[in-house]
Subunit: 268 residues, 2 copies
């Protein structure tokens, strides 16, 4: 089914000028790659994503799943790519152009969860997001170990400083790892891989390098993942959504400490 | 002209559980606010932006300028906001719904600058971006001082860890400062303020906390700013665009060093 999905090198070496202690010297630096990729569904332009040019099939599939456009693997007929122009063509059987096109990225104004507090902002989110009620429990040691594991795996970040990373983990270890210049793309790449390979996510944990915005939280909910561990800060809107939708959000994870913002009952 | 643009507190205090050295304790944490804001132009929904809920008028105006939808201050007739729902209504005289609607966020496939190398990805970028040929020169000391100045001003970041920040600077100091959960929004807030107050930008410098992606670079070009100083890493695509469009990109700015990636002739 897959055709022509080319992998790019994660980084390139560029000549630079380096200023050190007032002296300008010639040097080299590894710079991370970035590419604009436009997704077409059944020949219609859907969206352009600026991303890291690897695992592009996973990213496109994950994006379509996350937006509610692709729900059933049987309906996915073909995926191919024009690498030079950065165009990914996806064929989905029975894709209702009009309905999805109308809802895609359209603002949803009603309050969610009947509480009138946190709001979804896209109609597609309101249609897809369900409350996560998994009764998983993990230990504090696991939280710290998984965050450390994510850091150890982030070799493109270590080389270039130009990407975020995310991992899908069991209670033991990170099973799927992704890096991307776009925070959201890291989760779409994981989503796409799980969808294509029928990997269950309800009993897994997301470990993430970046800030937990509402968009990151909503992608976690769509993956049905009950625990989101970040090394960085969450936003208030993300925490309101997490509270209502049943996700445990952990932030500022360090070697010996972390903050539990919502649904602390899952951490023992 | 402005109506009902409410300012929100940058952060809220939330009760959290804190794990320290294996002990779970009750604590509090300041969490940054986040809000979804949908921009309507002449009653049509244009785009939803997830952002920090302050300087929202500047952000909306800057976004519309950056997308080529608003070009002339005389045409801006009204801006108002439904704060509860997060809707901003902008009235622009002579706004051609069909043309802008067609080009907005539509992929642009042709190579730019006649070199077939870096590509714009949106049609609106290709229409707006002009080569920046300002003959500004600044010293290495200025680069380091402005980066330090940005860090000193970032009080919401210091409180919450949840925002990026940007400054528009003269050779002497930062004149306009913005913070936002969204990297791009920081530049839109600056763009909107400059547009509304007729502040020239061609002779200014952007100082930025985050990574320099192609999107950040394109916003800098639209502002006609010749020098972009970041504390973080650039991407390869951003550097290709910067090379072609005439922007000096500086990254990894530290107390005594920085990297000059493109157009080093402006740094003396």
């Amino acid at each position: 089914m897959q055709e022509n999905i080319k992998q790019h090198a994660p980084s390139v070496v560029r000549p630079i000028k380096k200023m050190i202690d007032g002296n300008l010297v010639d040097a080299e630096d590894k710079v991370v790659q970035e590419k604009a990729v436009t997704i077409y569904v059944n020949s219609s332009e859907l969206s352009t994503i600026v991303c890291s040019p690897w695992d592009l099939e996973d990213m496109a599939i994950g994006f379509l799943c996350s937006e509610g456009i692709l729900k059933d693997k049987e309906k996915l007929k073909k995926i191919s790519m024009d690498d030079e122009k950065g165009l990914i063509y996806v064929e989905i059987e029975g894709y209702e152009q009009d309905l999805s096109g109308k809802l895609f990225l359209k603002r949803y104004i009603n309050p969610c969860c009947g509480r009138g507090r946190a709001s979804f902002y896209y109609s597609s989110d309101a249609m897809i997001c369900k409350i996560v009620d998994e009764e998983m429990q993990i230990s504090g040691e696991t939280v710290i170990r998984l965050a450390k594991d994510l850091e150890n795996k982030a070799y493109i970040f270590k080389e270039t400083g130009g990407v975020h990373c995310a991992g899908l983990a069991s209670g033991e270890e990170i099973l799927i790892f992704s890096e991307d210049v776009g925070r959201h793309n890291t989760l779409d790449k994981i989503y796409g891989k799980c969808f294509m390979e029928d990997i269950p996510t309800e009993d897994k944990i997301i470990v993430f390098s970046g800030r937990v915005s509402s968009e990151i939280l909503l992608k976690t909910v769509k993956l049905k993942v009950p625990v989101l561990i970040s090394r960085s800060a969450p936003t208030e809107l993300a925490l309101d959504l997490a509270e209502d939708l049943g996700v445990t959000v952990i932030g500022f994870t360090r070697d010996n400490s972390f903050n539990i913002y919502t649904h602390a009952e899952r951490i023992i």
